[in-house]
Symmetry: C2
Subunit: 216 residues, 2 copies
C-alpha cells in the first residue's frame, strides 16, 4: 500500500484533515464506486466527484486506479486471513478450532460486505503478479480450513472417507457465499449465521464418535 | 429469447449453415467473450471478430448486446432450474430428494462453468425488469432447496432448530461456489464433488434418527 505523502488536504472550510483520515476516506469511496460500477466501469473522475475533489488532486495520493483496487483487495484479504488464522490457533481440538474459524470468517464477511464483493469480483482485474502478491503462493484461506480438517481427520474426529480439500472448499463455499445474500438488519445476525453454518459443517464432516461427544 | 429470423448465413466457402446452428455459435462465442472481458468490457465488435463476421451482420440476429446477455443468463438459469426441479420430484423421502437435487445442481454447474460464471457475475448488468424476468418473483433456486428442507423437517428428518432458509443458503452456497474452482480434468469429477457435497449437507442438517437409518 502506498501511503499518501506530504501535506494534509484541506477541508472545504479551509480546515485541514490528517492525511490518514483523508486516505481512509479515499479508500472507502473507491471501494463503494468499484462495487457499484465494477472496476472497469469506474473512473478516477467518479471517485474524485464523490469526494468533492478535483481528479488531478487524486494523484497526490495515488498513481493509478489500479493502486486503489490493489489496496482495497489486499486489505480485506489480509484482515480476513488474520481473523481466521488467529482463530485457528486458539486452544481446543481441531474441530473446535474449525468451528471457531467458520464463525470468524462469516462474521468478517458480513461486516465487510462491500470490500469482500470487490475482492471476489475484481481480483482478476489485477495483473497476475499483483494478484499473486495478494494471494501468496498458495490458497491461504483454503489452506487454513484444509489443514484443520486434515488434523481432525488424523485424530479420528473427521470421517476418513472425506477428501480434506473438498471438505475445505465445501465449507469455504457456503461461508463465502454469505456476501451475496447477507443484509445488515435482515432476518439473521452475523452471529446466528456463523453459528448455524459452523454446526452444519461440523456435523457434515465429523465422525459419529466425535459428534456423540460434541452433541450428546 | 429472440430467434434469428430470415435466411441462413453463408459459410466462408459459400455453403449455408442452418440458422439454429449459427445462433448457437453466436451464443457460445458471446458467452465466452462476456466471461473473458466482462459484459461492460465486451463489445459486439469483439464477438463479430471472433465469429469472423462483420459487426453489421450481427444485427441480422440481434438488436443489442443486452439481448445476448439476456439469452446467456436466462438459458443457464432455466436449464439449471429444470434439472433441480425434476430431481426434486423423483420418488423418495425429502432428504433423498434433496441429496438428488444437490448432485444435479453440482453436475450442471460443473458442465456449464462459463455460462454459470456469466450468470453469477453479470446478472446485475441486466435492467431490473429483465432480471426479474429471469429470476421470477421469488428466488426459485433457493426455493427448491428450502421447500425440501422444510418438508424434511416436518417429517422429523431435519433438525428442528435449523432455519430452513439458512440451511438452503448454506447448501446453495457450497454448491454454487463450485463454479469458481472446478476444472474439468482436475482432481475431482463432477460426480465425486456432487456426492461428497450432498453427504456433507445431509449429515449437516439431518436428525440423529434420520442419519442412523441412512448411514447405519
Amino acid at each position: 500500500m502506498r501511503q499518501p505523502a506530504g501535506r494534509s488536504a484541506r477541508r472545504s472550510g479551509g480546515e485541514r484533515k490528517p492525511r490518514e483520515e483523508r486516505w481512509a476516506e479515499l479508500i472507502e469511496v473507491a471501494t463503494q464506486v468499484f462495487y457499484e460500477k465494477g472496476y472497469d466501469g469506474a473512473s478516477l473522475q467518479d471517485i474524485a466527484d464523490r469526494l468533492g475533489m478535483l481528479k488531478g488532486s487524486l494523484y497526490y495520493y495515488i498513481q493509478s486506479k489500479e493502486e486503489l483496487l490493489f489496496d482495497v483487495i489486499s486489505t480485506v484479504h489480509r484482515d480476513g486471513l488474520a481473523v481466521i488464522r488467529a482463530r485457528a490457533e486458539v486452544e481446543g481440538d481441531p474441530l473446535q478450532r474449525l468451528e471457531n474459524v467458520i464463525v470468524g470468517h462469516v462474521e468478517h464477511t458480513c461486516r465487510n460486505l462491500v470490500p469482500t464483493a470487490v475482492f471476489l469480483h475484481e481480483l482478476s482485474a489485477l495483473p497476475p503478479e499483483r494478484r499473486q502478491e495478494v494471494l501468496g503462493s498458495e490458497h491461504a484461506y483454503q489452506g487454513v480450513f484444509r489443514d484443520l480438517i486434515e488434523l481432525a481427520q488424523k485424530e479420528g474426529l473427521v470421517r476418513a472417507d472425506l477428501d480434506p480439500r473438498l471438505g475445505a472448499l465445501t465449507v469455504l463455499g457456503s461461508t463465502n457465499w454469505v456476501y451475496r445474500w447477507f443484509r445488515p438488519g435482515g432476518a439473521f445476525t452475523p452471529e446466528k449465521i456463523g453459528a448455524q453454518m459452523a454446526e452444519i459443517a461440523i456435523r457434515g464432516i465429523a465422525t459419529q464418535k466425535a459428534l456423540a461427544a460434541r452433541y450428546p
